[in-house]
Amino acid sequence: MKLFVPLMLLSCTAGLAAFVMAASSPFPPSNPSPDTHESAAQDPVAHGKYLVTAMGCADCHTPLKLGAHGPEPDMSRWLSGHPDTLAMPPAPAIPPGPWGFVGAATMTAWSGPWGTSFTTNLTPDPETGLGKWTFEQFRDAVRSGRHEGRGRPILPPMPWMNVAALTDADLHDVFGYLRSIPAIVNHVPQPIPPAETR
């Protein structure tokens, strides 16, 4: 035990150094091939998949796990948001200065001036995902930045204003793709308000 704590501190230090010094990513992005793009033009669901891939939705809406080649999406939880099995401790306080937010290693939980946010379950599960959403709700949500198009604000780091730039037809295809993927039961926690606004 006496050695354990120094070792852990050392490992954390090494990890921090690695973050600064790392030169390249071992995780290859899943770039669609031109063929995929062509087929997407014919098939709305394929086009939706193409857009979801290109926009990087899975980067935050699919938790990362450590694989043989480093961090990689947990495909068993594809687009299902922050895992309800991963209970997050309170987010660390951010010291004064230019650092503005912290994120979980899964890329599914974030904390900053807006509070703590957890990425949404985008699968068609009716109770925990988008299964009961209409296309209009989905469209209005990304256009307005409000949950279900008219509720609470959608929180950072969700770049909804970028998605809002899509045409209705593109959004329709994205929604169609999200309805086509396997439904995953995953109760994503509600966002936690920042302490000063509670």
Partner: protein, 439 residues
């Protein structure tokens, strides 16, 4: 151990170097959203919505504030709470046009209809405009008044945060145009404060914040008489619409929920899947008195909520709770969310920074009165209760502590048995109009 951990960290963090950065950029965009403007997009309203309020057709003489011919003031009986703003409202129909009220819940307004709503906190802040264009679509805009009220110009598309204070330390925001969509395009009714119920001459004396209609203000009877509203079901022509309720308090509470929540929380809107229906409907109405079976009761009393709203933090969390726990306001999520002004849990989610104290008292009393009430899902018992209650007052006069402008809690509010509503009471009032139970 150290080497292993460092290797893992290097993999994570090396990946993160490339992938977190773009999220950081997105985050930066999100944090600076108040300054965001869609690039390369023309303002869709700029060509059709005038740049100045003076040119919208509201006034014949803007400087004198003389209304234009055909502009009619009106006053809904269940107004939307907007942090205490004083409001004035007007409508103008195209010459010779009328509103089709065949569906008493969803009026069809002629193309060219314009409505205005002016917001004041001692002085004019903004005047909102909604118009139905020639293509049948509705368009929204708002005009911000200058400090000296000499002019009102089109507000920015993203609105104006903290345009003034509704009370010391409480900002009042001029809404963004997408905020208009949030409520006005949530359900089948785009026009929300101009309806059979809202304009009924049988006005609710307990309705919170209802303003006395201005001179010349039109109500439902006026509109029908002047043929500006046509095809209204005869039952509503003969008897002004009135919410069927178990008590005056419930009538006012349901009216408040109708006017403040029902535009989104309705069974036929974008949020229908929530099965939370606070819209009072008059479709399939009857003028025969019936034991109330309101959608609001059906979808709140004893109905599971998806969340708990913590009392102290107003944070939501997933847990077992009830939208309305009959007789127990403190355990009712609906009331908690009405009381919250934390942006992640408040209801309504936009348009207000100050909870409505008068409405909270009213809804508290309504929830408290639910104790011992017949469960609306038990139709046999409900019918029996209705039969037993004939001839009795809905609520003893001594219980009618709630009145406009204030609320005095009963001295024995914990004596829930004495507050039974359905089992011991009925209506001594004029015949009520209620809708036929839906299911």
């Amino acid at each position: 151990m150290t080497i292993f951990t460092s290797a893992i960290a290097a993999r994570w963090l090396g990946w993160a170097r490339n992938h977190v950065l773009h999220h950081a950029v997105a985050l930066g965009i999100a944090l600076t959203a108040t300054a965001w403007v869609p690039l390369g997009e023309a303002d869709p309203l700029s060509d059709t919505i005038p740049a100045r309020l003076a040119d919208t057709g509201l006034y014949a003489d803007f400087a004198a504030r003389t209304l234009a011919p055909g502009v009619l003031p009106f006053e809904p009986q269940y107004p939307l709470w907007t942090d205490g703003a004083t409001k004035r409202r007007w409508i103008r129909l195209p010459p010779g046009a009328s509103i089709d009220a065949t569906n008493p819940d969803v009026w069809s307004f002629p193309r060219g209809t314009r409505l205005w709503k002016e917001f004041s906190f001692g002085h004019r802040i903004e005047t909102r405009l909604m118009l139905r264009g020639g293509d049948g679509t509705w368009r929204f805009a708002t005009y911000a008044w200058s400090a000296d009220e000499s002019d009102a110009v089109l507000a920015p598309e993203r609105g104006v945060n903290a345009a003034c204070e509704s009370q010391p330390g409480k900002p009042f925001d001029i809404p963004a145009r997408t905020d208009c969509n949030a409520c006005h395009l949530a359900g089948p009714n785009v026009v929300l404060g101009f309806s059979a119920l809202q304009l009924s001459s049988d006005r609710d004396p307990l309705a919170p914040h209802a303003q006395v209609p201005a001179a010349g203000a039109v109500d439902l009877s006026d509109l029908v008489r002047r043929n500006l509203v046509k095809n209204l079901p005869r039952a509503l022509v003969g008897t002004p619409p009135r919410i069927a309720a178990a008590s005056p308090i419930e009538r006012a509470a349901l009216g408040y929920l109708h006017g403040n929540c029902g535009m989104c929380h309705t069974d036929s809107g974008q949020l229908a899947s929530l099965d939370l229906d606070l819209w009072t409907s008059f479709a399939g109405m009857s003028i025969e008195p019936q034991t109330p079976d309101t959608n609001a009761r059906r979808t709140t009393n004893g109905h599971a909520s998806r969340f708990v709203c913590d009392t102290s933090t107003h944070a939501l969390r997933s847990a077992s709770a009830l939208r309305v726990s009959p007789g127990d306001p403190d355990a009712s999520v609906l009331l908690r969310r009405m009381a919250s002004r934390q942006p992640l849990s408040q209801m309504p989610p936009l348009g207000t920074h100050v909870a409505d104290a008068e409405a909270l008292e009213l809804v508290t009393q309504w929830i408290r009165s639910q104790s011992g009430a017949v469960r609306v899902t038990d139709r046999t018992t409900q019918a029996d209760a209705g039969a037993r209650s004939a001839g009795d007052p809905w609520v003893p006069e001594s219980r009618r502590e709630y009145s406009r402008g204030g609320y005095v809690a009963p001295t024995d509010v914990t004596d829930t048995n004495s507050l039974d509503v359905c089992q011991t009471s009925s209506s001594s009032q004029a015949p009520l109009i209620s809708k036929t139970p839906k299911d």
